[in-house]
Every structure is written in structure tokens, then in C-alpha cells.
């Protein structure tokens, strides 16, 4: 955090013309994030990978807030990977804000104090008599003021304060406001921003044929492809065949002439195999519980009612609008990487290991990403680019087509859950058991979630089936389906107990608060807060026109309750509206926050209704958007979002809105039709034939 010294200059490629400050000559650096030029350009580096979660805008807002800067003078610049200056340059687990909130505040607040100190020296007054406002230091007594630029050179040489007091929430001028995306101007005029937009002198384009899951190459005839115009080489590596050429279309055409045969290399699995295996694993004995309170077995034997339900989810594609791609230039003196990466530090490490190159010799430029959803946490595609560049000794951009993306990539694991609940004769919930089984899902459960703490006899366990079908985190991993399954099941329990689902939930939350069983690792008051808010805003129980379904979920540190409203039109159920109440602590950027919640709900609904990847002998049946259906404008209900007023430090928001959405819909669907939905995609369920869903 030492002052002085020039900020590292920002280095984009010729094709990637980033918006540079109009003038920032002579700028001085205050810390990793912030530099100020004498002509008052406040440059804030935004270090995290941007996938559409709006972090590039939200992070600098926090620095600017504590600095008391005028947002009009702020230039935001995307940082590249720099492990010296920053830590956790990562888009994962909705954790960026929770990790960096204090660091960003400190960056702004310490610089503000340094600027005040510089002004105090200049005017020979005590810094205690000074104030700041909108990019100026003021000495109100004498009516003097100076803008930050005029003080920057001096201020940056002063010692960095070790103790700072952060602003109170009531004094915020930027945080909580709907500040617009800093890349809007570039995005709406079509400027190059994304990895796929990278074009360099001498760059070759590569597309890669990848083997079906569980197979390896038996034979490959590449002669015809290699002879095509514009093709520089056809390279076989790691059971893949890369066609490398001068233009995308020439490579596309040549690739069609490849003749590659595959043979089994381990298990070659189909969806029917997964269905069978997962069902078998549901009955497996002697699985180690991840949480156990009381004695579920005993209470299940004596219960007045025992409810057992199963819920099943298919594989999903991440379907980022910008398909996977990466640029690599492996030279004798170092490696240049450019492209979309949610975990750039991992990418660099993996490339260093792959090539046997000193990590310090690898630079990584972070491009804006056309979506991520967890897919770009993997380095498979960036390593392909590095390997090909190394083999061919040329700058290379690897591009995946949509078909490659959907067929050769990474998936949300297929999962199945079995839930059991015991009620006594009075409808009291006395036992709960849940098992999750997934294909390469890791732990598919969240053992400390509600009703942990509220139900005396409790058992959760999970089983992971190892498979050659590669999976990766998919927006709200496991929870993206668990949220639906669990919240649908709770609705059935309340129905079985003849209680209103919201009233029943609140009663059990209260029970967990008053007499908790074991550890309670969620915040009961925050959970109750969003449930009460969504009940109020949706007019729960008072809306006579609509059939309402309720869900509430805690993930990534945040609490979200949702109510779905279905109306009958010509005898068919139509989803008209979703109401969400959100507690994510302090809302940093109101505009981006609305987008995250609305987008998360739409994502949750769309994939629950339509999304599915099925496999036959290791080959996905879905190839493109004609068979892998994404939700479109006409299918989207109104979405109303309410944020809880909070002074708690910000918690996650990129993921939490998704998990409860499908359950709210399914519970409203039950109210409207009397039918329950258990398997996704819903539109394939017999219960959902008809209606404005299919």
C-alpha cells in the first residue's frame, strides 16, 4: 500500500481498445486499486473477472464512496491477473463482495485521509478542521477547497494511515444507488471486449474435435481436412484433433472432413445408466451421515404420517452466450494468455504446469465474459490454446462452436434426491431425512440448512457417483436443484399437516430459535425477515385472482423468499408474476442488484422448465439451441423485487435468487392444478401438459 510510483500502464491488444482515461498524465498510485492524476482523473482498477454480475462497476463504487470521489471523474479500468497487487481475482461462489468489501473501503478511505493530510499541510491547518465532498477537500472556515487531483502528487507520498473509520450507511452517496454499467458505451456500440473478439497479427484459429465421454481415439484420418484451403495444420493431441487455419470458416469446413473413430476407454455411459445407478444408490446402506440429530429411524417407525418423495434433475449445459475460447502465444521468453476466465489464477497455474514454464513468465489479460455460470472456472479450453500454441509455435485462438460447448464440455451434475418427513398425530414435524445422489456432484446436500435445528430427529447424507461425464459448478452448485426439491417437499409437509406453508415455516423457524436442536448455521431472523416481507408484498393469502406458491432459501450468505403467481387462462395455468424479497445485506449497486435477482429467477425458471442434456453412449443428444431450449422473452413472467433495508456487510447475490424460483413455480402449480412436479424439465412432466409453459 506504499504511495508514489506510477501505476502499471494498462495493456490491451490492438484489437481490444479499452476505454482509456482521457488524460491521466502524471497519475500517482495510492494503493493497488486507486491512482489519481494531477488533472483530477480518478482511476480505479477493478480486479475481478466480469461475467455479467456487474462486479466491474460495483467494486470501484465502494472505493469511490469511501474516497468521497465524484463518480463523474472516475475511470474504471479492468485489471489483469496480478497476484502481487490483488488476491482472490475470482468469480466463484458469489463471494467477491464478501471477500473484498473491507479491502475496497480501506483503499478509498485511506486515500481520502492522505488527501486531507496533504491539504492540511498546504493550508497549514489541522486536518481535523477539514472535510471532503464530491472530490474536493474543504476547509469550511476559510471557504477554501481543492480537488483531489491538485493534492494527489503530495498526498501519495504521505504515510498510509493504519486506522480508518468507514462511512456510516446513512452517509452513502453511491452505494445503494443504481449506478450504470461502466462498459455500457462500449457494449452498445459493438466495441471489442470479449475473448472471442481478440485478433492478433499472425494469429491462427483452431477448432477441436473432442472424444465422446469415456472413449479415446482408435483411428484418425486427417488428410482430407489438412488439404483444404487455409488450413495450416491438423494436430492430434490428448485424444483430440485440432484443425488449425487462417479463418473461422475455412477451419469449420475442413473440420467436417475429419474421419475419427473412437473406442471405449473406461465406462461409456448413457442417461438410462445414470437413472438406474442413481436409483440404486438411493437405497445404499451404511452411508456416513453428514449431519445427524436424534434418531430418525425410531421416529419413522412410530410416526402418524411418513411422507417420502423423490426429485430428479438432468445434466444442464452452462450455455454461456459467448462460447469457450482463449488466446495463447507461447514464445521462448514467455507466455501471453488472453481470454475469459473465472479463476484466472488457476488458469495461469494450470498452463504453467502443462508447459513446464515459470509462472512469472505468464501474463494473463482478463476479457469481459459473455456469461460464465461456473463453466469458466475450468481451464480446459485455455490449456488447449496454450498447448496448441506451444506445438505450432504461433499465436493461437481456440474457439469452441456452440455444438462443442454443448457436447464436449462441462455440465451441471445430474442429481436425484429422496426426502422423508415424519409427522405426529397433531401435524408436528418430528423427523426429517434427506439423501442426495449425483453424478460427479461432490456433496449434493447442504446438511446444516433448515430444517436443521428445527426438527428433533434429522439425518442427511450424500453419495457421489464417479463418471467420465465431466461436470463443473453451475450457478449455485447443487443448490440450483436442491432448492427446488427441498422447497417443494416442505410445501408438501405443510399441506400434509393442514397448515399454511408460510405460517408453518415461520413456526418452525421460531422453534429453531427458541429451542435449537444441534447447531443452527443460518440466520433465523434474516430468513424470517424475507419471508414476512414477501408475504406482505405479494398479498399472501389475500390475492383471490392468483394461485400463489411460496419458497424461501438461504445460500451464499443471502436470504431470498419468493412467491409465484399463476392465473388460469382458458382453463390453463399461466405463470404471471414472481415476487421476491431479498436480504443480501447492504445493496451495493441497485441497478445491478435488480438484474442479478431478476436474471437469477428467470434462469431458474427457464432451466427448470426446459433445460436438459441427455446422453447416449457418451454422446449428448442436444447440440445447439434448437434442441437445448433456453427461456425467451414471451415466456418470462413479471418479476417484482424487494430488498430488505440492511446495515449488514454485503453477502452474495450472483447465485442466491436462482435456487428458490422453480419451487415457487411448482408450489403455485400445485395450488392451481392439484398436481405436483418432481422432475425437471417440468415441460416433460405429464402434469404440465398444456398451459403457457411449453
Amino acid at each position: 500500500m506504499a504511495g508514489g510510483g506510477l501505476l502499471l500502464s494498462f495493456r490491451w491488444t490492438n484489437a481490444l481498445a479499452a476505454p482509456l482515461p482521457e488524460s491521466a498524465a502524471g497519475e500517482v498510485s495510492f494503493n493497488s486499486y486507486l491512482s489519481i492524476s494531477p488533472d483530477n482523473v480518478i482511476t480505479i482498477l477493478s480486479p475481478n473477472p466480469e461475467v455479467g454480475q456487474n462486479i466491474k462497476t460495483s467494486f470501484p463504487m465502494i472505493v469511490a464512496e469511501e474516497l468521497d470521489a465524484d463518480w463523474k471523474n472516475v475511470k474504471v479500468v479492468q485489471a489483469n491477473l496480478d497476484t502481487q497487487k490483488f488476491n482472490r481475482q475470482a468469480t466463484a461462489g458469489s463471494g467477491a463482495m464478501q471477500h473484498s468489501w473491507d479491502r475496497l473501503r480501506k483503499a478509498g478511505a485511506t486515500a481520502r485521509l492522505m488527501l486531507m493530510e496533504a491539504a492540511a499541510k498546504r493550508w497549514n491547518v489541522s486536518s481535523a478542521t477539514l472535510t471532503t465532498e464530491n472530490g474536493f477537500v474543504w476547509h469550511k472556515e476559510s471557504g477554501r477547497k481543492l480537488n483531489y487531483g491538485a493534492l494527489a502528487t503530495e498526498a501519495a507520498t504521505l504515510p498510509v494511515p493504519t486506522e480508518v473509520k468507514f462511512k456510516a450507511k446513512k452517509d452513502y452517496k453511491l452505494i445503494g444507488k443504481p449506478i450504470h454499467n461502466v462498459d455500457n458505451a462500449e457494449m452498445i456500440t459493438g466495441k471489442p471486449l470479449y475473448g472471442l473478439d481478440v485478433y492478433r497479427e499472425g494469429m491462427l484459429l483452431a477448432m477441436i474435435e473432442r472424444p465422446p465421454f469415456g472413449t479415446k481415439i482408435k483411428s484418425a484420418d486427417v488428410a482430407a481436412a489438412k488439404a483444404m484451403p487455409g488450413i495450416v495444420d491438423v494436430v492430434i493431441f490428448k485424444d483430440k484433433v485440432a484443425v488449425v487455419g487462417k479463418s473461422t470458416w475455412q477451419v469449420t469446413k475442413a473440420r467436417k472432413l475429419l474421419k475419427v473413430e473412437y473406442e471405449p476407454d473406461g465406462a461409456v455411459e448413457s442417461t438410462t445408466d445414470h437413472d438406474r445407478l442413481m436409483k440404486q444408490l438411493l437405497d445404499k446402506q451404511d452411508v456416513k451421515p453428514s449431519r445427524k440429530d436424534g434418531d430418525v429411524e425410531a421416529v419413522f417407525k412410530t410416526a402418524a404420517k411418513l411422507i417420502t418423495r423423490e426429485y430428479q434433475a438432468p445434466f444442464l449445459s452452462h450455455a454461456c452466450m459467448e462460447p469457450m475460447n482463449f488466446f495463447a502465444h507461447v514464445r521462448s521468453d514467455g507466455v501471453e494468455l488472453i481470454g475469459p476466465a473465472q479463476l484466472p489464477e488457476d488458469t495461469r497455474k494450470n498452463v504453467a504446469k502443462l508447459l513446464g514454464v515459470d509462472i512469472e513468465k505468464i501474463t494473463l489479460e482478463m476479457t469481459r465474459m459473455g456469461g460464465g455460470f461456473g463453466r469458466r472456472q475450468r481451464s480446459d479450453y485455455s490449456m488447449e490454446a496454450a498447448e496448441l500454441s506451444s506445438l505450432l509455435k504461433a499465436p493461437i485462438k481456440v474457439m469452441w462452436t456452440r455444438e462443442d460447448d454443448m457436447r464436449g464440455g462441462q455440465y451441471r451434475p445430474a442429481m436425484i434426491y429422496r426426502f422423508q418427513a415424519a409427522l405426529d398425530a397433531d401435524g408436528n414435524w418430528i423427523g426429517y431425512r434427506m439423501r442426495g445422489v449425483g453424478v460427479n456432484s461432490g456433496n449434493s446436500t447442504r446438511p446444516d440448512h433448515f430444517p436443521a435445528g428445527a426438527v428433533p430427529n434429522f439425518l442427511v447424507d450424500s453419495i457421489d457417483h464417479k463418471s467420465p461425464i465431466t461436470t463443473s459448478p453451475w450457478r449455485a452448485p447443487s443448490e440450483n436443484f436442491l432448492g427446488f426439491a427441498e422447497q417443494s417437499f416442505f410445501d408438501e409437509i405443510a399441506t400434509a399437516a393442514n397448515r399454511d406453508p408460510i405460517e408453518y415455516r415461520l413456526a418452525y423457524l421460531e422453534k429453531a430459535k427458541k429451542s435449537p436442536v444441534g447447531a443452527v448455521k443460518y440466520d433465523i431472523d434474516r430468513m424470517k425477515g424475507v419471508i414476512e416481507l414477501v408475504a406482505e408484498k405479494s398479498g399472501w393469502g389475500k390475492n383471490k385472482k392468483a394461485f400463489q406458491g411460496f419458497s424461501a432459501y438461504f445460500s451464499h450468505g443471502s436470504y431470498i423468499a419468493q412467491v409465484a403467481e399463476i392465473e388460469m387462462q382458458n382453463g390453463n395455468p399461466v405463470l404471471k408474476k414472481m415476487v421476491a424479497a431479498v436480504d443480501c445485506g447492504v445493496v451495493v449497486n441497485l441497478s445491478g442488484a435488480y438484474q442479478q435477482v431478476k436474471g437469477g429467477i428467470i434462469d431458474g425458471l427457464g432451466h427448470a422448465l426446459y433445460g436438459e442434456v441427455t446422453l447416449k453412449d457418451g454422446v449428448p443428444d442436444q447440440k445447439n439451441f434448437d434442441t437445448y431450449r433456453l427461456i425467451r422473452m414471451k415466456e418470462v413472467p413479471d418479476v417484482e423485487v424487494h430488498f430488505v433495508e440492511s446495515t449488514i456487510n454485503p453477502t452474495g447475490l450472483g447465485e442466491p435468487a436462482l435456487p428458490p424460483a422453480a419451487a415457487a413455480l411448482a408450489n403455485a402449480f400445485f395450488k392451481a392444478t392439484g398436481k405436483r412436479l418432481y422432475n425437471q424439465p417440468f415441460t416433460k412432466e405429464e402434469a404440465m401438459k398444456g398451459g403457457k409453459f411449453g
Binding site: H180, G190, W249, G370, T401, G599, D603, D638
Partner: protein
Amino acid sequence: MANYTLHINNKNYRVEVEEDTPLLWVLRDNLGLVGTKYGCGIAQCGACTVHLNGTAVRSCVLPVSAIGAKKITTIEGLSANGEHPVQKAWSELDVPQCGYCQAGQMMTASAFLSKNPKPSSEQIEEAMNGNICRCGTYHRIREAVALAATKRK
């Protein structure tokens, strides 16, 4: 390989490419006009939408040999400095999230509004339904199309 003269954004460009090359890749690979995006390659998502004589078309399935003397407009040529009513509305309502699909959305919206200057909400939905937004910015897109309609002279 064949030579073509393309009229793009009020400029003439000469390119030498294979006849079946989709316009999308001519724009991106040959001319550096990368605002037009690849999303699916089969005219399903709308990310590659451009105007051909004022009509929205999918450049990923439009062979360069089929264009002839027709005028092409891409996102880079929608206006000189982002002042087209659609661009202004997109900016005013802070529409983009990841932003990748938005050029295609705006090209669809601008061609639609030139033919239907005062659309109903249903007509907007109908016109925009062919463009996928994976982030789910659909509400703001719908509002922005309606707002753009009020900004047109």
C-alpha cells in the same frame, strides 16, 4: 475464393473469401467488425443479427455470395456515436449484464421499430422473441424497445 465488394455502414469493403462464407465471419475475421457476435451458427439465438437493406437478418447463415449490392448495417454503423434511439434507450435503462447478446438485440429492435414505430407490448415481445439473452435481461430489453419508440423522430 472470390472477390466481393460489400457495402457496410456506408463504406465499401473489398474482400476475397470463399463463396459460402457466412457474412458473420467476413465481418469478424476479415473486416475487424467484431461487434456482431457468434452465438449458435444456426440462426437460433440472434446474437449475429445485422440489417440487410434495413431488414434484420442472421449473418451466421447468410453466405457472402448472396448479398450482392444490398446495404449492410452492423452495430458499429447503427449510429456514429451511440446516439441511435435504441442505443440511447439501452444506455438509459442500463440494459446489459454480460452484454454479449445485446448488439443482436439492438439490431433486431432497431429494424423492428423502423417498420413498426409505435408497437404494443405484445408486438415487442413477438419481435424480440427470436433473440436469446442468457442473463435474462428480458424485462429491460422490453422496456428499452418501448422507450426507444418514444425517442424516434
